[in-house]
Subunit: 194 residues, 2 copies
């Protein structure tokens, strides 16, 4: 029954709106408030599209974008965790349960492919997921670089942590990491990153 | 020079972040604050993906998503206008100039395809743009339907206006409009829409 299926999807659309109320650990450039995970998701999708030519391997950008559209849905139930907190199995499990709960709102037969896509992103083993994960790390870096390192200093993140966590960007795009590494080194020189 | 191109794209990524500070005329379900155009853009992309099987014509969903990722960029310079305000040529021109300014930040040769995609969305003549435009109208309806018609009453929007503007959803998906029309009729019965 298409009409009742559409109603189910509209309920899903209302439910995922809660991602607009999940707050992250950085402030968008020029804004006083913290970023939420819904606007972040838009930002990384468009960033991925514009940077696609610099991925290490040939990627299917349409799969990357779908991955990034759903990559943070688990935070609706689990909340956002700063990347420098150890990504524990407990957090990952809670997110996975949350994504499953949401996708199960959809009409039968729709959940599986998106669950698989979410798991592929999390595993980070395919070219698409490695590139998507690289892009996911870019906005918080830009927020700190253009925002006096506000999140690094607030959460006592050392330069060693910043370099060690973010050098994983190179797994998705070596060229992108090359540019960002230089920007981070400049931030160290300016005393924004210690 | 890939590295300087990447720097240009990073500047673009920072600049489009301003869309997170463009506020719309409805509040997300359950939230006290108004919605911004960046989180709205994410919401419509994911909504379009989940509802794609109900488009009137066969569509390329990946083109639809790209369209919706960029469809509101013009608001960074022009601001958001409620759909019930006449969509004047002056507003459209201002948005187009704004989109062009942003895309021109990208390395040479990248702007044209996205400008064309934005214009295709605006013109609303292809199956993809008709479907994208239909989906773009869904969240404000859901916000009002689940939020006591807050934006309709605040802006003195009559039920005649709501039906006449939103029946255009049928141009992209007749089935979706069938469901929403019923929901709107229920809202009229309950006195939420007058």
């Amino acid at each position: 029954m298409p009409l009742s299926e559409i109603k189910q999807i509209l309920d899903f659309i209302v439910e995922i709106e809660k991602l607009k109320d999940v707050y992250r650990k950085t402030r968008p450039v020029g804004l006083d408030r913290y970023e939420n995970s819904a606007e972040h998701s838009w930002h990384v999708c468009l960033s991925a599209l514009m940077l696609k030519d610099y991925a290490n391997e040939e990627i299917d950008i349409d799969r990357v974008i779908k991955m990034l559209l759903i990559h943070d849905l688990g935070e609706i139930d689990a909340g956002d965790t700063i990347i420098y907190a150890s990504e524990t199995q407990a957090i990952k499990d809670e997110e996975e349960t949350g994504v499953k709960r949401l996708l199960d709102l959809l009409p039968e037969g729709k959940a599986e492919q998106y669950m698989a896509l979410w798991q592929e992103f999390e595993a980070g083993e395919t070219p698409e997921s490695q590139y998507a994960k690289a892009i996911d790390r870019v906005p918080p870096l830009l927020h700190n670089l253009h925002g006096n390192g506000h999140s690094w200093s607030k959460h006592n993140i050392s330069k060693e942590q910043v370099f060690s966590v973010n050098k994983r960007i190179a797994k998705g795009s070596e060229k992108l990491w090359e540019v960002l590494e230089l920007e981070l080194e400049n931030a160290v020189e300016k005393g924004v990153l210690n």
